[in-house]
Symmetry: C2
Subunit: 319 residues, 2 copies
């Protein structure tokens, strides 16, 4: 098996889980930021990890999201080769825009490419979910699925996994990442385990409206449906400035938005680039006044998911 | 105002509220049964009601769903004429397939036709909801909206009213109405006011899947999404034979189905007429064995809503 030096480079996009009213089931991929990952085949079995960034993540495969995801894939390959993973993480860990999912999804798409795409996208989601579990303690796919598939995805059911790709109209996405820490596990613990039936009804009316709005390209309906009466009222307390960002973003024309995943990032959708930039200005003003360091992104929906940008000749790869 | 003798005759379809996972927000119109209603203009103000059926419903406008709905409309018409309503109700009251909604929707569409369609469909839903409140004690629109609009409708929000028409592929609908009494108010009272968050998440995953399946014409996804983990487990106890009807209908090819509205009718969706008829046979066998009288319908999705089938010349009507 002469597979040495075969390598592939991918871009793995940031993702916004929940999309306001779709807690644990909806997710959206965006074009910026994206992690850059290179995966190389090695002669000897085993996985080794190098970082080109300063985040100080583990290089021990069993303690690294990319490592665990790839190990899950390797378990299903007989005579598996070894892999070297080089990660240049541009999506800051803990930002709430799918940093761990990008590692998990990026590595399995890249490795699958090196293995002649023998696994389906559903398989890849399954492998990446193993890595995601290391990061958040829970096997969920609402970041993984859009990261691998692009666009907006619905996880209709997690066991058995049922992923639905939804169409979506062109949209701009403005994100602010206040540099505060909100642990996913904490953000999950503060949620009530029971919710009012009347609130649940509102929520499923809104998610149904959002799906219909996305598929009809009905921006008005998308905006009206971006309402969360269950999770946001609890979690937004952890994010200073949240209510003001939302209020003022809508005043300058945002369709709507909310907490990205479990936070602390906040996202807003808009139809026009000009509005998206005004929202960035609003966010900047607010977090500057609060004295909290932050980073903003003005970007668009990513429709392709993890993208292979460089690949060595794969003709001699094992079938 | 020479408006005497102007009249219109309409067909008002039965409707299936909730559609399994869309409690209080989704509804579907079907082609059989349909009420036949005639509405005539009178010279003198006031509303009078006649029944051509044997259901013994009130002829007192304020105690009749059609009467109350029309009174709500008349309140917004200056110099309103009088109306005579002749109802031939083919949708049995208490069947759970939108009998009261058909009265409410039918009369307002007919009267609006006589008034040169001065009101929008949203207005008509609003008037008909006043009548619906008389029947069920609650202002809801999940039967009214599909009865007026046809097809599948989403009530994204009730205050303010936001109705979304969803596209839907051709489908057969098999309905069994066991002749037992389940009062809407009782069926509502046995529901828990709080639900598990994890169940609510399953439910909104399913409603999102159902909306996507309907819009993509993806019968498989529609079938997988027709699951209700919140309402059905509680309400189905009131309907003898429910579990068996569901199990055996799926065995013969039903996409899925459940309780129609608050019951006691049960409905099943299918792609083919042949399957729809096999489901009817399954239902017949089960209720025959249970010794419960019943009625079945094999029908299709109604796409037009309340339909005007006869109309006298309206040229002399007041603007």
């Amino acid at each position: 098996m002469q597979v040495n030096m075969k390598s592939v480079k991918v871009l793995a996009p940031a993702t916004i889980a929940n999309l306001v009213c779709g807690f644990d089931v909806l997710g959206l991929a965006i074009n910026n930021p994206r992690d850059v990952m290179e995966v190389r085949l090695k002669d000897e079995p085993g996985i080794c990890i190098h970082h080109k960034d300063e985040h100080g993540l583990s290089t021990e495969p069993s303690q690294n999201v990319a490592g665990v995801s790839l190990m899950a894939m390797v378990e299903e390959v007989s005579n598996a080769p070894g892999f070297e993973i080089i990660i240049d993480k541009r999506i800051k860990p803990g930002s709430g825009i799918g940093s761990s999912s990008a590692s998990a999804a990026g590595v399995v798409v890249a490795a699958n490419h090196l293995l002649n795409n023998r696994f389906s996208k559903e398989d890849l989601v399954r492998f990446a979910m193993a890595g995601e579990k290391l990061a958040s303690g829970v096997k969920h796919a609402d970041n993984i699925a859009p990261c691998i598939n692009g666009g907006v995805t619905l996880i209709r059911c997690i066991f058995p996994l049922d992923i639905v790709r939804l169409t979506a109209p062109p949209m701009y996405v403005t994100v602010v990442h206040p540099q505060i820490e909100v642990k996913t596990s904490d953000a999950r613990q503060i949620l009530r385990r029971e919710v009012q039936l009347k609130d649940a009804i509102k929520q499923w009316g809104n998610i149904a409206g959002l799906v219909a709005g996305l598929m009809h390209h009905d921006y008005g309906l998308i905006g009206r449906s971006l309402e969360d009466v269950i999770i946001e009222p609890v979690r937004s307390i952890l994010i200073p400035g949240f209510d003001l960002v939302k209020k003022r973003s809508k005043e300058v024309g945002a369709l709507g938005g909310g907490i990205s995943g479990s936070g602390p990032s906040i996202f807003m959708l808009s139809k026009d680039e000009n509005v998206a930039k005004q929202i960035e200005y609003v966010m900047t003003e607010i977090f500057f006044a609060l004295g909290i360091e932050f980073k903003t992104y003005v970007t668009t929906v990513n429709y392709e998911g993890v993208q292979v940008i460089e690949s060595s000749d794969a003709s001699e790869l094992p079938e």
